[in-house]
Amino acid sequence: MKKNQHRVLLGILSLVFIAAFGSQSQAASYPARDVTMIITWGAGGTSDLSCRQLADPLGKILGKSIIPLNVVGGSGAIGMNQGAHARPDGYTLTFCTSGPTVIQPWMQKVTYNPVKDFIPVAQVFGEYLVVVAKADAPYKNLKEMVDYFKKAGKAPKFATPGAGSNNHLSMVLMSKATGLAMTHVPFSSSAEGVNAVIGGNVDFASTEPPSAVGPYKEGRATILAILSAQRLDLIKDIPTVKEQGIDLVFGGWNGILAPKGTPKDIIDKLAEAAKKALENESLIKNSATVGRPIEFLSGPEFGERIKRELARNGEIIKAEGLAPK
């Protein structure tokens, strides 16, 4: 009996010792085991695919596997919450999208602070937005569309993948920038919105290149403009909104966040590996085909962008009364 107790005690002591020793050498030997990367959206979705594309080369560079974990719900807030309160040892990271990072904190009561609870590791991809209309619409670009509806004295109806989405907020700003009133018709996915355009049920849709390029290339839809700062290679002929004389740049992104308190050398190591992973050939090829631009930003730059967009979205959402009561 007594002997057993001793054994148990010895066991516990050695575990504590290993744990203590382990944490000391953690930074140098990181990663010693596989790293979990939380995705706040479901398997098979756009950000899930992006994360999995990145996870493979990133894991190879780090020498351990990156295991994507879909933690779904609350428009991404549940995954963000889990990522924010994970152990800050570099073994649980969050693959974040702009929605739960810079929009949802204004739309619902969230249990994480996107700025204070996380250390930004790097931004990896951009998620551009485009404006799509039916192929036989009487306008071929955004400027013509705005003029057309102003002349007709009508408010165009536009589709988005949902209220409070990046797409929705961008169109609120578009309406302000052009002085054209627009009616929002929320759908639940980008594909549905594009189909509503093609079927002639709405006048245009705010969507992402992956769901717009197919119908565009087949001549069913026309892309009026892209909302990014520069054109996208996949649809090189589509001018930006800015080129059409409307002062607006808007877009989403994907990045990696680590919980607050993660050692700085681990963050640096991860950021460096992420930058290298983005040079992976198959990742570059896949990104080009699906229209997902690779856009690396360092941790501090990414952090600035998060703060800036969080403030901007807060203003729009409050001014327009978009947040549910």
Binding site: L69, Q108, G162, N195, G199, V290
Partner: protein, 505 residues
Amino acid sequence: MDPIHGLLYGLSRAVEPQILILAFLGCFWGTMVGVLPGIGPVAGITILMPFTFGIDLTSAMVMMAGIYYGAMYGGSTTSILVAVPGETSSIVTIFDGHQMAKQGRAGAALALSAIGSFVAGTVGILGLTFLAPPLAELAIGFGPPEYFALALVGLSMSSFLSNASLAKGLAMAVVGLIIGTVGLDIISGAPRFTFNSMELAGGLEIVSILIGLYGISEVMEMMASKIRPQIQHEKLWNLHRLLPNREEWRLSIWPIIRGSFMGFFVGALPGAGGTVPSFISYAMEKRISKTPERFGKGAPEGVAGPESANNSGAVGAMVVLLTLGLPYNVVTAVMLSAMIAHGIFPSPLLMARSPDFFWTVVASMYIGNFMLLILNLPLIGAWASLLRLPYRWMTVFIVLFCIIGVYSIEYRSFDLLLMALFGGIGYLMKRVDLPAAPLALAMVLGPIMEKSLIQSLIMSDGSPFIFVTRPFAAGSMALFFLLMFLPLIQKKLGRRIAPVGEVEV
């Protein structure tokens, strides 16, 4: 490429060893996830999703399609043998399939559903081959008003399904509608019934509710009842009893044919997939039957019709995916993301732009359908032996698979709690004889209806006339009113236009 040439070309590709092997693997795995309650085609495909990134898209798609329609074949097995649906699309098969098993006709019920599935699968694939292009053109103009009208018709069907009184059926439909509103309102983003819980804000996972309502409650019922399980071993293993008798054939032939055609067209409608066609087929067979009182008591038509309809419905959903690129259910949504990941954007011009891909997938479906007939008809016994375990072990395994299935959807323990809760509710509902089908259907159709109603009214600036000025919507609305007021009209005329069966009015 015209359909005949396309098909011949596709067949030449589909017999290549790699594609043949993947088609077989898909069918095999599909049948297995179909047989096992809890694990459905969504989980089945998602588990293999990472694997598909490593192979070319055509092979990946062949395999995923195999899983999808394979699950439609296998789904009936547990419905018939243990009254637990393998998939949502096999829920209605319980009503009569399980009754047949209780009467020692389990083999016949399984054979009818396998043969019906084969016929329907073939009809569906022929439809895919020849009707996909014109269908796509028709459906592309559908907008929120059409979706609303279609969902409304679907929901009104549920009142015809319930064996309980119409009042009970409608009451359960209302409960289902309320459950469907949990989460964020899509227009304003306002939280409804969420009680500040982020889990609830995402809405309730319908699959976990269904598995609780149908799977867990059934196990509870099995444990609570003094009667031992209803798998009739000796009778089931008797091979000559596997074949339906002459009378069962006679009764089933037309339901199989009707189910095959109806399922294909309904399956191509939004949100329908294989589930709604199976519900509609059951209601339809019951309504046109001269002896509707046999339904729910082991009528072979109630197995043959729905099991055929869900197979051609699955193919119908594939039509929409391959032509419009619209995922009308979760399974095709997963397939769509795989296609996009490989750089193929499905659209009406897919056939012209990637004939190799399109026709190989279609041709492999013909082959897969034969594979499944062989996998299912002579080997039904082998699949069912998965369920041959002793009763006390069986309940454990059913619960285990339910848990795995529910957890594998989103990896959330919250969904398990939800499943347990609805297991308890489902059990109580059985005790007081409240029907679960209208609740289940309303839960799925409610959000579609609400969303499309609001979208329609935004489109029309608030005018409800949008539902009558658009021909297809108007037609569907007319059908809805006909369905709703049929009993009243019949009463007024003093005679029955059609047998109303056991629906008490």
